[in-house]
């Protein structure tokens, strides 16, 4: 998990609501025992035909669009708790997912893998889709330190929320296990208390 500060990128738009984790990474790809290679199967059933050839009408196969920010319709990541969804998004090269609403478990999984879920207003989301529609090279700038997201096409900016602890983790490349391991004594004290 690398350090994470400010970046600007064009976006990949996916204006569909309720994209569940079975779409992000179908169950048949969950047989792996490490975290590598899931990016190749990100959105596999929307992305490839049965024979493995690309479905040309799917956005990831359209060279017009590209970038390290995925922009999706509301309630992104619903369904299964599979962290493979976050590994697939990360593995494909996305650094952030922008939507007006995320499912809880996915949001945690994304943060635990250095993929930033950015919650924006429904209006902001609609405007991003519109500006990408008229100019596929339109960019967004995400500043984690200041918790802002800016549409460089419209100049509009919004602040987004992220808890201070998770923000520090992302900015410094730390993870939760480091924190929990530092609390071993307290855990053992708690166990004595409940015995």
């Amino acid at each position: 998990m690398g350090k994470y500060i400010t970046f600007t990128s064009s976006v990949v738009p996916l204006p569909i609501e309720n994209i569940d984790t079975d779409q992000i990474i179908p169950a048949r790809f969950l047989k792996a025992t490490n975290k590598d290679g899931f990016g190749d199967n990100l959105f596999a059933d929307w992305r490839y035909n049965k024979d493995g050839s690309p479905k040309l009408d799917f956005v990831l196969n359209n060279p017009t669009f590209g970038g390290t920010i995925l922009v999706a319709g509301k309630n992104f990541g619903s369904g299964s708790s599979r962290e493979h969804a976050a590994w697939a998004i990360d593995g494909y090269g996305f650094k952030a997912v922008v939507s007006s609403f995320f499912a809880d478990i996915f949001q945690n999984n994304a943060l635990n893998n250095g993929v930033l879920p950015v919650v924006v207003s429904a209006d902001f989301l609609a405007e991003v889709f519109a500006s990408v529609n008229s100019n596929p090279k339109a960019t967004l700038t995400i500043n984690l330190q200041n918790q802002t997201i800016t549409s460089n096409a419209t100049g509009k900016s919004e602040t987004f929320t992220i808890n201070t602890y998770k923000k520090e983790c992302l900015l410094n490349g730390l993870d939760d296990i480091d924190y929990l391991l530092s609390k071993k004594e307290q855990i053992e004290a708690y166990e004595k208390l409940i015995k």
Binding site: L30, T33, D104, I105, T164, Y165, I177, Y190
Partner: protein
């Protein structure tokens, strides 16, 4: 026993506590400044699909499993439902199962139940039936349907693999405190209406994201009247409306179910625990962040017509017309119906189907098999229909035989498969072919969930039984 912890902050600043607050607060080890809560976990369930990377993480960091006695492992997601006594055909699946077995040995985990073991089965079925699941506990698993265990008055929720690693290493997770919601079902369920119908009805009202950010408590006469297994079905589906989890206050029904199970407390410990469990209820003056009330009498047998569990309707109803759908959601709605091969406004009753699946952590328990067997008794399986009856565990399978249900099923032309998650997520060979319709008692009708291109119609065990004998979507009340 769990008692209120002196280090614990008061329940979100409120005076009176909800059931959720009581359990959560009793498990707080610390609170991170500006961040989440460090929550102690009483029971951790692991399965073969979401745990290998977590064990790899432990290995990389040179860590042991912190509390092996609080870790229960079962192989269920990626397992065949025939010939379990033989080596698994698919080499990649076999490798995943072998690695799971090796991890259990390497990390000294005695509560490991491999294929064929009498305690093996779907993780959310073997937990309760062996007495691992108890009131007042915090329970996690790398599986979103961990909410099932909330039926016992436990705070149970699904976690990702990074969090599985945290629990293995420290018996704790870091979680933000969710908001609380109370959903009350007044009155009684009608004849031919099951707990699954109640849940699908609720999800259709709330939508698939309607409870995101909340932990739900279910209450009211219709909930109190449910058996333990029916309560598990309701809590299981909490995640399908986005809820972090769902729970029901424990009562005599709960205590009667838990008592005497292998890993349940015994003798003096039972009495102490029981006294504590009886205090686990929401105080009268406690408030929730959101409250909803439904009338159980309004619910009819339910089916889904779309590609998320919120797209449900009464079996005699019609799919919404485009005008009835929010403008913002119309593209997704149309995409969904196109996938299903349905038209807006269409009625589905009487529609020909190809597959029926009875099983999964939602409806793979003995009561589901009783309901199904009771309906098909003396009738015959419809021709040209493939029916998969998959018990949730070997203990359920054993009960099916002992109660004489297998004879009834065989007589009616049905065969029983071996336990596992099976066609619920179709990681094994139990896949519904592209374009085919399956009436399924599982929990998700997502695109491709039961196999690439498969079309899933979610329903309860009674609607599944009716479909199994008619080959059509059929109202079991007729």
């Amino acid at each position: 026993m769990n008692s209120n912890n002196a280090q614990t902050p008061p329940s979100g600043g409120r005076g009176a506590s909800t059931l959720f607050d009581k359990i959560w607060d009793a498990h707080v080890v610390s609170t991170v400044d500006g961040g989440p809560t460090q929550l102690y976990i009483d029971r951790h369930f692991c399965h073969e699909v979401t745990s290998p990377q977590a064990f790899n993480g432990l290995r990389t960091r040179g860590l042991k499993v912190f509390r092996p006695d609080k870790t229960t492992l079962t192989a269920d997601h990626n397992t065949p439902t025939i010939n379990q006594d033989q080596p698994v055909n698919d080499p990649i699946s076999r490798n995943q199962l072998d690695i799971f077995a090796r991890n259990a040995v390497e990390f000294n985990l005695p509560l490991y139940f491999p294929l064929g073991h009498i305690k093996n089965g779907v993780v959310h079925i073997i937990g309760p039936e062996n007495g691992f699941t108890q009131p007042g506990m915090t329970i996690v698993c790398g599986d979103s349907h961990t909410s099932t265990h909330g039926a016992f008055g436990a705070v149970a929720f699904g976690i990702g693999t990074s969090e599985v690693e945290m629990v293995l290493a420290t018996q704790c997770v870091l979680q933000s405190r969710p908001k609380t919601m109370l959903i009350t079902f007044n009155g009684k369920l009608g004849k031919g209406v099951t707990a699954k119908d109640l849940a699908l009805y609720m999800i259709s009202k709330l939508t698939t994201g309607g409870a995101t950010g909340y932990f739900v408590e279910y209450a009211g006469e219709a909930i109190r009247n449910l058996s333990m297994e029916e309560r598990m079905t309701v809590c299981n589906l909490s995640i399908e409306m986005g809820a972090r989890g769902g729970l029901i206050a424990p009562d005599q029904t709960t205590f009667d179910y838990v008592e005497g199970r292998e890993y349940a407390p015994k003798d003096e410990e039972w009495e102490t625990k029981l006294a504590y469990w009886k205090t686990l209820k929401t105080e009268e003056k406690a408030t929730f962040d959101k409250e909803l009330v439904f009338d159980a009498a309004d619910i009819q047998p339910m089916i889904t017509y779309g590609t998320n569990p919120g797209m449900g309707m009464g079996i005699t109803d019609s799919i919404p017309t485009l005008d009835e759908v929010d403008e913002a959601g119309r593209i997704s709605f149309q995409k969904s119906l196109e996938y299903m091969g349905f038209q807006p406004g269409e009625k589905l009753e009487g529609k020909q189907i190809d597959y029926v699946f009875l099983g999964s952590c939602t409806n793979g328990r003995i009561e589901d098999f009783r309901v199904f067997a009771n309906f098909v008794k003396g009738k015959k399986k419809a021709d040209n229909l493939i029916v998969w009856l998959v018990p949730g565990s070997w203990m359920v399978e054993k009960q099916i035989r002992e109660e004489g249900l297998l004879e009834i099923l065989t007589e009616a032309g049905f065969a029983l498969r071996q336990p596992g998650c099976s066609a619920c997520l179709a990681m094994n060979d139990d896949k519904v072919p592209a374009g085919k319709y399956a009436v399924s008692t599982s929990n998700r009708n997502f695109e491709g969930r039961q196999g690439p291109g498969a079309r899933t119609i979610l329903a309860g065990p009674l609607v599944a039984a009716a479909a199994a004998v008619t080959g059509k979507i059929t109202d079991p009340r007729n």
